[in-house]
């Protein structure tokens, strides 16, 4: 029996049958990390001591806790009390979290063991995890390739069986794209269902915490345990939260006409057609629909994300926390601190965002983009009148080589073309592994209307079962 390949559900069963204790399992994972981490560089910080302490405490706890002894990795922009939280940036290099994020409190209460904080593009700005100020995470399937980003460390840690599940954040695809690149499941739920309290803000109207899992079931299981209304997040949804159930009834799946015109790798296209065949064979009606404004998503996403980032990152000024470069005037202190603390991509985005919001340019860039955002949202709403779930590839290409796109920012931005529209609208989406080409994983994306996670749960489970993706090849 290989304990390290187990899903959450399988691991919980072992605990309940007393086949292994949390401490024993944790030690197996620690050995795995000691073996694999030197090649993969998924973590920025590993808390062996804290994890072992928690594992010991669990021996006295109720084995029926919903995440009893489940080992998690957390992206380094979600606060875990008393652990570092760098956001992959020099400006927060020595910052220790004074409190737990809302979702972390929920994980801890459910009995989870947090083993460490994972590498990411600085402030979640990037699609390859190459923008981290500290290290480059490698794709466990091929160490010369990127794991995707910005939550690359969280995706790689689970793909290489160093943890059972992990959390990331998804502003424009930062959970789904690395999930696709690493052959794991990545769920970005409806905006507002997972509190952003304790998540370092990048683009507040787009940011959403997401879950990486080894199975579709695992990711929805964790989602249900950490969701909920939180008065500390002004965008938290004040609704009645129920367990996500696979939708019971007939579903129509839509293909987006405009995406048919995108340049997509042949192997991914083939895999996409295979998934559609599977749906057809299962008597699911497939219908082509149109989202005419979708080709504008990429441009307006970046304008909006840059603008929100320039405002959100104004708080890193050297005054209350993080790096401070000592200077004798306040303005010089701000400027020197930000010059030393931020990396290239972060500066590029702050500059573009400041430009898009500044007097004389605001109407042309930010306001115009916000109007186009409304048009795209309306187009999606019209599509959901005709179909329940949309399916399309998570990434137009397979994981690329380290260094291949990093010098050309626009090329890097284009990596997110498939995932971005979801965040603009705020709807839920999942990426599931559906195949392998050239020894690299392929992911498909499913999305549905607001709070209709049960619909993507059903279709994702169906495809997962039929494809029987051989996870854990590594």
């Amino acid at each position: 029996m290989n304990f390290l390949r187990m899903t959450i559900k399988e691991t919980l069963k072992l605990y309940r049958e007393k086949k292994i204790s949390p401490e024993e399992l944790l030690n197996l994972y620690i050995n795995r990390i000691k073996d694999k981490e030197k090649d993969i560089d998924a973590f920025l910080y590993i808390d062996y001591e804290g994890a072992l302490k928690k594992a010991k405490e669990l021996e006295k706890e109720d084995v029926n806790l919903p995440l009893y002894g489940i080992i998690f990795a957390i992206k380094d922009n979600i606060l875990v009390k008393n652990l570092p939280n760098t956001c992959g940036s020099k400006i927060l290099e020595n910052f220790i979290s004074p409190y737990d994020a809302f979702v972390i409190e929920k994980l801890k209460d459910a009995g989870a063991i947090i083993i460490g904080k994972t590498n990411m593009d600085e402030f979640a700005m990037g699609s390859s995890t190459e923008n981290s100020a500290f290290k480059i995470t490698k794709n466990p399937w091929d160490l010369s390739r990127v794991p995707g980003g910005s939550s690359g460390g969280s995706a790689a840690s689970i793909a290489s069986n160093m943890v059972i599940s992990s959390l990331g954040s998804d502003t424009g695809g930062s959970v789904r794209q690395p999930a696709s690149f690493c052959g794991v499941v990545g769920l970005k739920p409806t905006y507002g269902t997972l509190s952003r309290y304790g998540l370092v803000a990048f683009g507040s109207s787009l940011d959403q915490i997401g879950i990486f899992g080894k199975s579709v079931e695992d990711s929805f299981y964790v989602f249900d345990l950490i969701k909920g209304y939180d008065p500390k997040d002004s965008t938290s949804l004040n609704v009645i939260y129920e367990k996500t159930k696979q939708f019971d009834g007939k579903l129509k799946v839509g293909l987006i006409k405009e995406i048919g015109k995108y340049k997509i790798d042949e192997e991914i296209e083939k895999n996409f057609l295979l998934c559609i065949d599977i749906l057809r064979k299962n008597n699911i009606e497939i219908k082509e629909i149109s989202i005419p404004t979708i080709p504008y998503s990429l441009s307006i996403y970046y304008i909006i994300a840059f603008s929100e980032a320039s405002s959100n990152l104004a708080r890193f000024d050297g005054v209350r926390y993080g790096l401070r470069v000592k200077e004798d005037s306040l303005k010089k202190m701000y400027t020197e601190t930000r010059k030393m603390g931020f990396g290239k991509e972060v500066k590029r985005r702050i500059l573009l965002g400041t430009y898009a919001l500044s007097s004389g340019y605001y109407e042309q860039w930010y306001l115009k983009s916000s109007k186009v955002r409304k048009m795209i949202t309306d187009d999606f709403q019209n599509a959901f009148k005709k179909v329940d779930v949309l399916i399309f590839p998570t990434s137009p290409f397979l994981p690329f080589k380290i260094g291949e796109r990093i010098k050309d920012p626009l090329q890097m931005y284009l990596s997110d073309v498939m995932t971005i529209p979801i965040n603009l609208v705020g709807i839920p989406a999942i990426s599931i592994p559906t195949g392998v080409a050239n020894n690299l994983p392929i992911g498909m994306q499913l999305c549905s209307n607001y709070l209709e996670e049960g619909k993507i749960y059903k279709i994702a489970s169906l495809i997962e079962k039929e494809i029987n993706f051989i996870r854990n090849l590594i």
Binding site: I96, P98, Y99, T190, G192, S205, P231, K232, S234, T235, L237, N238, T293, Y296, S299, I300, Y302, I303, A314, D317, G318, V319, R320, Y321, L323, R324, D328, L330, K331, M333, T335, R338, K339, K347, R348, I350, L351, L352, T354, Y355, S358, Q364, W365, L367, K368, S369, S370, K371, V372, R373, K374, M375, T377, P409, L410, Y413, V425, G426, I427, Y450
Partner: protein, 97 residues
């Protein structure tokens, strides 16, 4: 016509409290130009009758009750602040003599 020039970059550098060396400016200006040229395609859409959307329209934003709540002890703030003296965060002198 160029969208971005050196004057605009100087202005936004100042607004955002950032600094770039001359060679960094020479590198970034063409990059910003290329990015914004790509983004400019949104101009072709007619948005004259469209209301802007700043947040996903699932629920109206709300404000919580303006009441006093305890978040952190002063020791916590002291621990995370770069310079903390006598219960205050210390910054360089702001007002003149």
């Amino acid at each position: 016509m160029k969208i971005i020039d050196k004057d605009i970059v100087e202005k936004i550098l100042n607004l955002s409290r950032l600094y770039l060396k001359d060679e960094e400016k020479d590198e970034i200006i063409p990059q910003l130009e290329e990015i914004l040229t790509y983004f400019k395609s949104i101009e072709e859409l007619d948005t004259s009758n469209v209301e802007p959307m700043f947040h996903p329209p699932i629920q109206k934003l709300f404000l919580r009750e303006d009441s006093i709540e305890k978040y952190f002890d002063r020791e916590v703030l002291e621990k995370i602040s770069p310079i903390f003296e006598n219960g205050f965060v210390k910054v360089p002198k702001i007002v003149g003599d």
